[in-house]
């Protein structure tokens, strides 16, 4: 009985900060400690979010943002995995890409945004290209490290059993490298989201980032706050989804043993 009580207290304590924050937000805004403009009440922000969902505005924006994110991320993932594997296995490719990756990986890629606008225009392609460019490096680095560290005995036994190069790649190297590659993808996807939102903010137009910026310019603070709530929810859903996919995909791996 005491144990149950302790657990309850723990749960209450653990949710208290979120509840407290929500209450303080609502109460502080209602008491007008700060102006409505600086901090619209939580209820008005949630009402706004609900209205935007019902009217479909936010769904259009959400759809466009996710479309750009996923398009760029998919390009980055495909290119990154191919480059990573070929770097690890082909010498010329390694010679060329090794300095390019070691210089390119730590660069603040976002500074290239105006160049991408110049090259690809202000619509979807520049955003997608920017996302792909920003998130390809973590995938390359993870895939490269993963392919290098595949157990040599696995490769040797497979070769001694006479598998072809293609079989070696698809049946030994890729599955063995999978956990680490997926970790790279899990790093790359949040980067994609951050970048797509910055792109939408700078270029304006539709999408979650763009509409947040529009609300800001029109001094529509409930719009800004409902935007940030929507983006925060999308961010955590995306991270959760990647974790679920990882469990599904790597169900055979010992990390999911228990």
């Amino acid at each position: 009985m005491e144990r149950v009580n302790a657990n309850w207290r723990r749960t209450l304590l653990r949710s208290s900060s979120v509840i407290l924050l929500a209450v303080a937000w609502e109460w502080g805004a209602r008491m007008h400690f700060v102006s409505d403009f600086l901090l619209p009440s939580l209820s008005s922000v949630l009402t706004r979010l609900f209205e935007d969902i019902v009217s479909g505005d936010i769904l259009v924006g959400l759809g466009l943002t996710m479309l750009r994110t996923l398009a760029g991320f998919t390009i980055a993932a495909a290119a990154g995995i191919v480059i990573g594997i070929t770097i690890a296995r082909i010498r010329v490719i390694r010679w060329f890409f090794d300095p390019v990756v070691s210089v390119g990986n730590p660069l603040p890629k976002i500074a290239f945004l105006p160049i991408f606008i110049l090259w690809f225009g202000v619509f979807d392609w520049s955003k997608i290209a920017m996302v792909a460019f920003s998130s390809v490096f973590p995938v390359v680095v993870a895939t490269w490290a993963a392919t290098e560290s595949v157990d040599k005995y696995l490769l040797w036994s497979a070769e001694s059993l006479g598998v072809s190069k293609r079989q070696l790649l698809w049946q030994i190297v890729l599955p063995a490298a999978m956990p680490q590659v997926f970790t790279g993808l899990q790093i790359a996807l949040p980067i994609s989201l951050i970048v797509v939102i910055i792109c939408e903010m700078t270029m304006g137009g539709q999408g979650l980032g763009g509409s947040m910026m529009t609300s800001m310019r029109f001094a529509d603070s409930p719009g800004v706050f409902s935007g940030i709530v929507a983006i925060a929810i999308v961010g955590s859903l995306v991270v959760k989804a990647m974790e679920l996919i990882r469990k599904r995909l790597l169900v055979w791996h010992e990390e999911n043993a228990h």
């Binding site: 890409f97 210089v103 730590p106 500074a111 290239f112 160049i115 939102i197 800004v224 983006i231 991270v239």
Partner: protein, 260 residues
């Protein structure tokens, strides 16, 4: 050794030559990709053009310097504040169970939020000046620092703490001589993430609004169609980001040298 380094960086040299030649022979449009030499020339004139507006302009005339100084101030205070507060909160969370129970759900809920979404709210609260940029950078870098400090300090071997206690260490000694040193590798790794994030948010917030900073200079030159100068600033920002990461890596290795 030197020979090795040269061979290793030949691909970058090839890319630089390609950058010079491709626009010159009109393989690509020179207005979309100015040749490397034109970019370097523009870079040089940005160093000397005398449009400086900070107190340092007396010594360093040139918009690259003055905007660089404003960017540096935003970056330094944003990242520095995040490191100090983040390490403090992380240790505190790891040491006090009740505080941890209250705060960590909030930290974990906010951690996956795309950090760039904070920028408009900070502009709303703090205006278009340096304050909103420092706050955006600080808040974006705070969570990685808190989480890595928290994980690092929780991972300290309990036997180390017990032995220090039995030798009569005070709380303060325990913190400075046992907990922080053994959590240091994770804290430093978290700060490296924060350094990368700080550059992204710095450039993004300056691109979006404001009148100062390297990000502002990039968008200003881009909107004016002065593309060789715009490329020069982009290259400068990239080089600074790269140098910051390398310098930090060097510092990290030096600091952790006692761990074998």
């Amino acid at each position: 050794m030197t020979n090795n380094v040269v061979v290793r960086y030949i691909p970058l040299l090839l890319l630089a030559i390609l950058w010079e030649i491709a626009p010159r022979i009109h393989f690509v449009d020179p207005s979309e990709l100015p040749p490397l030499s034109a970019v370097l020339k523009a870079w040089w004139s940005l160093l000397l053009d005398g449009e400086g507006h900070t107190f340092l302009a007396v010594f360093f005339k040139g918009s690259l310097w003055s905007n660089g100084v404003s960017s540096f101030i935003n970056w330094f205070f944003g990242l520095g504040g995040a490191i100090v507060i983040g390490v403090f909160l992380g240790v505190f969370m790891a040491r006090y169970q009740t505080f941890d129970d209250v705060v960590s759900p909030l930290v974990k809920a906010l951690y996956p939020m795309p950090k760039s979404a904070l920028i408009p709210v900070m502009i709303l609260w703090l205006g278009l000046g340096a304050g909103s940029k420092i706050a955006s950078i600080g808040l974006s870098c705070l969570l990685p620092v808190i989480l890595s400090t928290y994980n690092g300090s929780r991972g300290v071997e309990q036997t180390l703490i017990w032995s220090a206690r039995s030798l009569g260490a005070t709380d303060r000694e325990l913190l400075w001589e046992v907990i922080l040193p053994s959590a240091l590798p994770e804290i430093l790794a978290g700060i490296r993430n924060a350094v990368a994030i700080s550059f992204i948010v710095l450039v993004a917030s300056e691109l979006l609004v404001g009148q100062h900073g390297l990000g502002y200079l990039i968008s200003f030159l881009g909107e004016g169609g002065v593309y060789d100068a715009m490329f020069a600033v982009v290259v400068t920002v990239s080089a600074l980001g790269f140098a910051a990461d390398r310098a930090y890596l060097y510092f990290m290795r030096r600091t952790l040298i006692w761990r074998e």
